[in-house]
């Protein structure tokens, strides 16, 4: 949800990662919405080349998605227009890359962590580029890279198959129109696996594990074409379907949907050792790779004509799958929330349930976990260290406690858990804690009463139920209302005694949005303050370690502590932002 401070935070993140020019283009898209290249140039008052370069950076880092629409030309022919939409959530995800890396490091080995780091650092990479990057850090695993200059017409590259124990040759024929690299120069850069190293297979293996776990996915289409919306035939008068309010899909949502690769293709790993775009494939498969897949013609980046022609890429381009990371973090939050609300046993049971049904729940907004029988849950609980002491009865009791739904329809009784309900409770708790800290215990009590009843309540009724002095209650409610925490309704006075009657309620939608905006503001301020502190002590940071002694040493130590404190606070605040924005 791009709120006022959300936009400022996003612009700040882009500015600190890619500079002011890119931030300017990003801000323009965030504030004005989806635009064409010409409009971006007009609004930003930058040169066409600058805007193109900025868009390239943003697309490379998955912050912008291009798409084409057909514009009705009236009497003349209709024409295709390329538009650029900013993906706000992907920008905000940039501040939580460390969390994503942490998830992978907890589940997999160091190599997986490095591969993911590469993808997060560069946005989108081919497997070859990824492996190349990983190997450049290791002297023993270095692969020679051959830069070949060539023309667009025909290039022959001799490719040696990578792998320690298998070596094969293939001739790769390339047509100039099919494979081009980024940029306007015609220099084509290929990796020639002249030497093989044992690290290669291990890296590929790690990559496959990341893809199989859905942490890495194929990039979406660079510029999907959106078809014109055809007007549907008017529905029958009084038809039942007409009475149901339908959710209208925005152009941006349609573009994202159109760009997304098919689910079957999204996590498909194919290794090409040498292929002909016109001819047959030469596919060599490791044990866990799939054969028979046709040559992937995914475009890497294809901008409109103004950007200097189509730009394609030889191989499939990969990126980190933020959805999967968000889903993992959501599950962690659910477990932590249940643990705090009930006990460790309930947390263990929920964690086991989510782990066992991991493959079935892939959608971030998925509201329930997959169904699981009691025995399967118990089996999963037994696998954990904390769960070994739990009995079947204890597990059953915990399942009831956390509100699992028991489905008795099938042959085997199965349980499923409502994750949305857990997230709703966690959100409500977060807002209530903010009220407690800002306005005190009595306000907290009254706010909880209003947020739980979800209906209008009169001042006296609130003070009676919350046992707060009537005058004090009115004052507190007024203060809460001034800060947009509660909503006040003044009914039309029917008598003089009703003149001062005030009804109060908590409007969840507006309040949650308001709280999220405050969180973005807090995150922005923390980030700005951290930068300011670092800027103030830049001299000390540049000093070599041996010179940081005495007073300088103390200043360095202080700076280090301040930085740790602020960055950890930012991470905690980001958890709350995710709770309200992503889960």
């Amino acid at each position: 949800m791009a709120t006022r401070y959300g936009i400022q935070l996003a612009v700040h993140l882009i500015s600190s990662h890619f500079g002011d020019l890119v931030a300017k283009v990003c801000e323009c898209l965030l504030r004005k919405g989806t635009l064409t290249l010409r409009d971006i140039i007009r609004f930003t008052e930058l040169s066409a080349q600058q805007v193109k370069n900025c868009l390239l950076v943003l697309i490379q880092h998955n912050c912008v998605q291009a798409f084409s629409t057909v514009e009705d030309g009236g009497l003349s022919e209709s024409r295709i227009i390329t538009q650029y939409m900013v993906i706000f959530n992907n920008i905000i995800h940039r501040m939580r890359f460390s969390k994503f890396i942490m998830i992978v490091s907890q589940e997999f080995d160091k190599e997986c962590e490095e591969l993911l780091e590469g993808l997060l650092q560069h946005g989108r990479l081919t497997l070859a580029q990824l492996l190349d990057r990983a190997n450049t850090d290791k002297p023993e695993g270095k692969i020679p890279v051959v830069h070949l200059g060539g023309d667009r017409s025909r290039i022959h590259v001799r490719v040696l198959k990578s792998g320690f124990h298998r070596a094969s040759c293939g001739l790769l024929c390339l047509s100039g129109n099919s494979f081009l690299m980024i940029g306007l120069s015609l220099t084509i850069k290929f990796v020639q696996f002249v030497e093989c190293c044992p690290a290669q297979d291990a890296l590929r293996e790690s990559f496959n594990r990341l893809v199989n776990a859905h942490y890495v996915e194929r990039c979406p289409a660079s510029e999907p074409l959106l078809e014109l919306k055809t007007d549907e035939a008017p529905s029958r008068r009084g038809a039942k379907s007409a009475k149901i309010a339908r959710v209208v899909e925005t152009t941006e949502q349609r573009a994202l949907k159109a760009a997304a690769p098919m689910e079957a293709k999204r996590f498909l790993v194919v290794t090409n050792t040498g292929s002909d775009i016109h001819g047959k494939n030469t596919v060599d498969m490791p044990s866990n790779e799939i054969t028979g897949e046709k040559q992937m013609k995914d475009e890497y980046m294809q901008l409109d004509g103004a950007l200097g022609g189509a730009v394609c890429e030889k191989e499939v381009v990969w990126r980190a799958n933020f959805e999967e990371f968000v889903l993992r973090l959501k599950q962690k939050v659910c477990v932590a929330s249940i643990r705090a609300q009930y006990d460790d046993g309930a947390g263990v049971v929920l964690s086991a349930m989510l782990e066992a049904t991991r493959g079935t729940e892939r959608k971030i907004r998925g509201e329930t976990s997959g169904p699981l029988s009691l025995n399967a849950i118990f089996e999963e609980v037994m696998k954990t260290e904390e769960g070994r002491t739990m009995t079947l009865e204890h597990v059953r009791s915990s399942l009831n406690q956390i509100g699992c739904k028991l489905d008795t329809a099938g042959p085997d009784q199965s349980y499923s858990i409502d994750l949305k309900n857990i997230i709703d409770t966690a959100q409500r708790d977060e807002v209530e804690l903010i009220v407690l800290k800002r306005y005190g215990k009595e306000a907290f009590r009254m706010f909880r009463l209003l947020s739980r009843t979800r209906c209008l309540a009169e001042t006296n009724k609130i003070s009676d139920t919350a046992l707060v002095d009537k005058k004090e209650a009115a004052k507190i409610l007024y203060k809460l209302w001034q800060d947009d925490n509660v909503h006040m309704v003044r009914p039309t006075a029917t008598s003089t005694s009703d003149k001062d009657l005030c009804l109060w309620t908590v409007n969840k939608d507006t309040l949650w949005k308001h709280v999220l905006d405050q969180m973005y503001h807090g995150a922005l301020n923390l980030s700005l303050r951290t930068l300011y502190e670092l800027e103030q002590e830049r001299e000390i940071l540049q000093l070599p370690r041996e010179k940081r002694i005495g007073e300088l040493g103390k200043r360095y130590e202080r700076l280090r502590r301040v930085r740790i404190l602020m960055e950890s606070s930012l991470m905690k605040l980001d958890d709350s932002i995710m709770l309200f924005n992503d889960f």
């Binding site: 903010i434 800002r438 907290f444 139920t465 002095d469 405050q518 301020n525 605040l573």
Partner: protein
């Protein structure tokens, strides 16, 4: 319990004052009291009679003294004398209006003052009896903590049995107190399923359970940073007079 020993000493008179309205409140608002012993009307003069008739006519809401003065139109000295006489004979009583504490209402001794006037059972002398509420909450919370899971009746019975208070705490009162504990997030409501810790409680009964230890210390992430509690956050901008760069709270 230590907490109660001190409170008993401190607040005994206060509880004694509360016990009367609590017992009375069980019936209808206009129920005539039987235990009071007002003086005989034969000893009253004509002015007192006139005043008493008006006060009785106003029922449990009584009448504001100023309104009464305007109504009877007596000289101030005579009026005050008559009122004093009625009070002395325990035929009327003064009750502070909860909505306007400067206004004292005269209510006939036979009537239980309206909740609208007194503020309800938890009010004493026009003020919320916070001391009593706090102690009662503390006792209820400790009781639930000891029992782990308890119904309203169980808590009420335990409190009655233990003789913590010299007054009788009705189940309704205990329910109100438990509800405020739920609002304080100190206890939570759960429905018994009849197994495990609910074995002694019939399934489907509403129970109260204390929150697990440690969950109370949590703070919202937003309020852990200065901006979360700053009153000037709405006028704080990156390059403004109030900005994160110049904020003094970050230096503390």
């Amino acid at each position: 319990m230590n907490c109660f020993c001190s409170s008993e000493h401190l607040g005994f008179s206060c509880y004694m004052m509360l016990v009367v309205p609590m017992n009375r409140s069980q019936g209808a608002g206009k129920r005539k009291r039987t235990d009071a012993s007002p003086g005989t009307q034969s000893s009253l003069g004509p002015n007192e009679h006139a005043i008493l008739d008006i006060v009785k006519g106003k029922g449990d809401m009584g009448i504001w003294i100023k309104d009464m003065r305007d109504k009877v139109n007596l000289p101030p000295t005579v009026f005050n004398k008559s009122i004093d006489s009625l009070k002395k004979n325990k035929m009327v009583k003064e009750v502070k209006n909860i909505k306007n504490k400067g206004r004292v209402h005269l209510v006939a001794a036979e009537f239980e003052p309206s909740k609208e006037l007194t503020g309800g059972d938890w009010y004493a002398d026009g003020n919320l009896d916070t001391e009593f509420i706090t102690i009662l909450k503390e006792v209820c919370f400790k009781q639930i903590d000891v029992m782990r899971v308890a119904t309203i009746d169980q808590v009420a019975n335990e409190i009655r049995k233990s003789n913590y208070f010299n007054i009788e705490c009705s189940t309704q009162k205990i329910k109100e107190i438990l509800n405020t504990l739920v609002l304080d997030n100190k206890v939570m409501t759960v429905t018994s399923n009849g197994i495990g810790e609910f074995a002694a409680i019939p399934a489907g009964t509403l129970c109260y359970k204390s929150r697990p230890k440690g969950s109370k210390q949590r703070e919202a992430a937003l309020t852990l940073i200065p901006c979360g509690v700053c009153p000037h956050t709405t006028i704080c901008t990156p390059d403004g007079i109030i900005s994160p760069k110049t904020c003094v709270y970050y230096t503390k």
